[in-house]
């Protein structure tokens, strides 16, 4: 099995169903259905291509745009297969007839050969290309264009930074990082910006990618037609930790989402016991506070991810490590070991101070 699924890879909430690209085709509505005719190739291809975990696969679409793109792919694959085997057959023919000159049946004649070059090399390609152009670039593109403002019911602002994602919900004050929550079956207007170099926002199962470019604001539709957790990753090379700049999009049922948002909008709870208070002091008195924000405290740093609700996240450092106590401790002690080159220095805290800090971070939910 190419893809051993690590325990905890899939949230119990949304076990994603067995990958079924042909199914995807049947669900297709509108223009996409033009592709149904080529649906037959999908199962074959699916067998070859879908190795179980569709977590980040473009072939396991979970929204209209990606479904249309996937169909487009299967169609192009079918056409390409025909072209390829046609060409391969001709070459094989030349091997079979390597001792005879001229065409089988048709005999010699340069005029004839030239005619065939014109036919195969000009006429047929142009025909194929026009078809492709009309379907792909005039029709399917519409599905992947930035959504008209009026058609979306909420906005999420994502800012790419070396090497994590800063996520904000305008109008609610909710801020988080690397783990985006959206209500399922809701058209979300995603605003993509960058804080430093070019990144690219990409959640393959939900939509095409969109670059995050300095001095520009790009928009894209974010839509999931069933609850679940969708993995995404930065797709434009952005330096050392480009490889560890991943994210999750959680498509929650509306009620669950509202609850999450309400909590995310709240400032952090005040520290309860002495140790936690000490931990907070450690956080504020060390450099942490220069880089991190914890709403409800004087910590207002803008360099690192917002930690106000750290514990509501399942991973740390843009999906580099799971968010569990041991890992968190390891991260704070030596982030450079876990994610070499990232922008957070290891501040050698030790003993009770460190324990207190952890205890405090534990309370940020």
């Amino acid at each position: 099995m190419l893809c051993p699924i690590r325990p905890g890879d899939r949230p119990a909430a949304a076990p994603s169903p067995p990958p079924d690209s042909p199914g995807a085709l049947k669900r297709t509505r509108g223009p996409g259905s033009a592709w149904r005719r080529v649906g037959w190739i999908a199962p074959a291809g699916a067998a070859l291509l879908l190795t179980g975990c569709g977590q980040q696969s473009t072939l396991d679409p979970r929204s209209e745009p990606t479904r249309e793109i996937a169909n487009l792919w299967w169609a192009m694959l079918a056409a390409s297969a025909i072209v390829f085997f046609g060409a391969a057959f001709l070459i094989f023919l030349s091997w079979l007839r390597r001792r005879k000159e001229g065409w089988p049946l048709l005999g010699k004649g340069d005029g004839l050969s030239t005619g065939l070059v014109v036919g195969f090399g000009i006429v047929i390609p142009i025909a194929c290309l026009i078809v492709l152009f009309v379907f792909a670039n005039l029709d399917v593109t519409k599905a992947t264009e930035a959504p008209a403002q009026s058609t979306t019911s909420m906005t999420v602002e994502v800012t790419g930074r070396q090497w994590f994602w800063d996520v904000r919900y305008p109008g609610t004050g909710a801020v988080t990082a690397n783990e985006i929550h959206i209500p399922v079956r809701t058209r979300v207007n995603l605003v993509a910006r960058t804080g430093d170099v070019i990144h690219s926002f990409w959640v393959p199962q939900l939509n095409r990618k969109i670059d995050m470019i300095p001095g520009r604001t790009n928009r894209i539709l974010l839509y999931a037609d069933r609850p679940g957790r969708y993995r995404g990753q930065c797709a434009e090379f952005c330096g050392f930790q480009h490889a560890h700049m991943a994210m999750y999009v959680f498509a929650d049922p509306p009620a669950r989402f509202r609850a999450w948002l309400a909590n995310a909008a709240r400032p952090s709870r005040p520290a309860l016991n002495a140790q936690q208070r000490r931990g907070q002091q450690v956080f504020l008195s060390n450099a942490c506070a220069n880089c991190h924000t914890i709403a409800g405290t004087p910590a207002r740093g803008g360099i690192g991810p917002d930690l106000t609700h750290l514990q509501t996240r399942t991973t740390l450092a843009a999906l580099t490590i799971p968010n569990r106590k041991g890992w968190l401790a390891g991260w704070v002690l030596d982030p450079q070991h876990i994610k070499p080159g990232n922008k957070m220095p290891g501040l050698n805290l030790t003993g009770p101070d460190f324990q207190a800090l952890l205890a405090y971070l534990e309370t940020l939910r």
């Binding site: 473009t58 390409s80 001709l90 290309l129 670039n137 969109i210």
Partner: protein, 634 residues
């Protein structure tokens, strides 16, 4: 020529030998202006760079062999990955086809005795060598460029790449650019003015059409890169703001400039390969190319349309939909000339009597791989699909199929095909075929699975990847494939290396080739042809009576030109005799000038701008000295 009929002919040949033979020994190589020796220098240099780029590739593959690889740290990986791309494109693919194959074969094919500007030709080589070493100084000193081969800003600006790595990249590429431009200009003038009398443009081999197209593409594409790089260095070294949006600059400007160069570049890489294919296929099918004029036209068209498609590398940037659609359409149109050529080759194969010797095998392999790579290219011209799969391994798969499969395979086939001409010996056929099959299997094992991991969402340029996303198995296969491929290529090199000394001796024309180079001895004499050959068709070697004519003329001493470094210059279209010019003989100045130029760049990278200016002055002085001696005073 091999068969020298009469004593007086013998005398003339000896005369030519005396006039044209260059200094022996190392000094001879350092001062040579003989296009064949320069070609050989290019060949070994580019091969060495190929080895370097290959080793980098193998490092990449070893790092990605399994999840969470530990072979390279992020910094090292980024440098290796970037230098792999830069080396393979700028120090291997382009210079081996233009520098090595073009230099050695073009003058032979058009029946000239040398390039139009022999010393400029030597200069190109020395500049190329210096610039290549210059960039590798960076990598070896741990300061390689780390922002990928297209080096997007702002990542490549001082703020995010403080070290000198990017400066090695930018200055190094400006440096090679000078060399490549010189070569291109040299080719164009050579093709236009130095063709043997009678070889009107429509009688010129398709190989030469390919190089004509490439040279023009280079002349107009490289400036865009130079501009981009100059802006970049001004930003980095002098704090200008071309690419800095905070101060009115623009990061997309880099992307436009780079790809305005970058896309023509990819056709610059593949056109020589097309040229090689069109010279091997007729020979091994015993048949003239089908649709000759169409193919010639297509070769020119590819180079031309290639300038209008660059933004298909930028579909994810969020340009206006209209822009995207225009460039997608252009990218589709460019398929047609490729398709024409493809089916011209196939039809020639089918209707001819092919003998599948090693060179033809590589060409057939090339056709198969080019179809695959080309078809995935078409898919990218479907905007939404590109927006989904750009910057994934699907792209890596596409361009290795077209670059390695479609550009490097013919080059390897060409090595086998012209090996007897260059060395006078034959390679080992069985080992040759084995090396092909090994490379072919390795190639597909390496790059085909990349399509799949791409579709499974694996972005490119990651120094590592987690398990559990379905990528693991495919990456393992890719890495194994890469090792096989390496073995295959080493087999090629080994085969040729051994044959060079042990191979059976062969005559002038072991294949019954169709173009002029087979008319002269193997290896060719310094003056290429004792008699300026008579040409009356693109398949000069198949016009037996013309070749007999040549022998006759030699005996009668007509069109021998043995009074100096003489060669005919002809008119552009019809190649009528126009004048006889005297070629400069070997000269120490090209290498001197190259060294002076290296001084400039060395001073720039160490930021000693005044000293750099001094070296500019020095370079000008060298130029003056160079032109102090006029040909006719020779």
């Amino acid at each position: 020529m091999a068969v020298v009929a009469t004593p007086e002919a013998q005398a003339r040949v000896e005369r030519l030998e005396r006039i044209w033979t260059e200094r022996p020994g190392l000094l001879g190589w350092l001062t040579t202006t003989d296009h064949k020796r320069i070609g050989i220098l290019y060949f070994f240099t580019t091969l060495a760079f190929f080895a370097a780029g290959g080793i980098e590739a193998l490092l990449i593959r070893t790092q990605l062999l399994g999840p969470n690889g530990q072979v390279l740290d992020p910094a090292a990986f980024d440098q290796v990955m970037s230098m792999h791309g830069v080396t393979m494109i700028f120090l291997f693919a382009v210079p081996i086809s233009t520098g090595a194959f073009g230099n050695y074969l073009l003058p032979l094919m058009i029946g000239a005795r040398d390039m139009a500007f022999p010393r400029l030709n030597a200069l190109s080589y020395w500049l190329f060598l210096c610039s290549g070493l210059f960039m590798y100084v960076g990598l070896i000193s741990g300061n390689g460029p780390g922002a990928g081969w297209f080096n997007y800003v702002p990542l490549a600006l001082k703020a995010y790449s403080p070290g000198p790595g990017i400066d090695y990249y930018a200055l190094g590429l400006i440096f090679t650019g000078i060399s490549t431009t010189a070569t291109a200009i040299n080719f164009i003038v050579t093709i236009f003015k130095m063709r043997a009398p009678g070889m009107s443009l429509n009688r010129m081999p398709l190989f030469c059409f390919a190089f004509l197209a490439v040279s023009f593409a280079l002349v107009f594409a490289l400036p865009a890169l130079s501009t981009a790089l100059i802006f970049l260095e001004l930003d980095r070294l002098l704090g200008f703001h071309f690419y800095d949006p905070v101060n009115g600059g623009n990061t997309i400007l880099w992307q436009h400039l780079f790809w305005i160069f970058g896309h023509p570049e990819v056709y610059i890489i593949i056109l020589p390969a097309f040229g090689i294919a069109t010279s091997i296929i007729p020979t091994f099918t015993r048949r003239r190319m089908v649709a000759f004029p169409l193919v010639a036209l297509a070769e020119i068209l590819v180079a031309f349309i290639g300038f209008g498609v660059w933004a298909h590398h930028m579909f994810a940037v969020g340009l206006s939909t209209i822009t995207d659609i225009y460039f997608a359409a252009a990218s589709l149109i460019i398929v047609v000339p490729s398709a024409i050529q493809l089916f011209a080759w196939i039809t020639t194969l089918v209707t001819g009597r092919p003998t599948f010797k090693t060179p033809l095998l590589w060409i057939v392999g090339f056709i198969v791989l080019f179809v695959i790579g080309g078809l995935s290219g078409i898919m990218f011209a479907a905007i939404p699909f590109d927006q989904q799969l750009t910057d994934t391994y699907f792209v890596v798969a596409h361009f290795h199929y077209v670059i390695f499969g479609a550009a490097v395979f013919p080059i390897l086939g060409g090595m086998y095909y012209w090996f007897p001409k260059v060395t006078g010996r034959m390679y080992y056929e069985r080992i040759g075929q084995a090396s092909f099959w090994l490379s072919f299997v390795g190639m597909n094992l390496t790059f085909f699975p990349m399509h799949i991991v791409g579709l499974l969402g694996m972005p490119r340029r990651q120094y590592t990847y987690p398990s559990g996303l379905g990528w693991t198995g495919y990456n393992l296969v890719e890495s194994i494939g890469a090792y096989l491929l390496a073995a295959g290529l080493i087999m090629v090199v080994a085969n040729l290396a051994v044959s060079r000394f042990r191979g059976a001796r062969v005559g002038n024309d072991p294949w019954g080739g169709d173009t002029l180079e087979w008319a002269t001895t193997s290896p060719p004499p310094p003056y290429n042809y004792a008699v300026i050959p008579k040409v009356s068709s693109p398949y000069a070697m198949w016009d037996r009576e013309d070749r007999e004519q040549d022998a006759l003329r030699l005996a009668q001493g007509r069109q021998v030109l043995e009074q100096g470094h003489e060669t005919p210059v002809t008119t552009v279209l019809d190649a009528d005799w126009d004048e006889i010019v005297d070629m400069p003989s070997d000269s120490p100045w090209p290498i001197t000038f190259a060294l002076a130029t290296s001084g400039i760049f060395a001073m720039l990278i160490t930021q000693h701008f005044v000293t750099a200016a001094a070296f500019c002055g020095l370079a000008l002085l060298v130029l003056a000295a160079w032109h102090n001696r006029e040909p006719q005073e020779a």
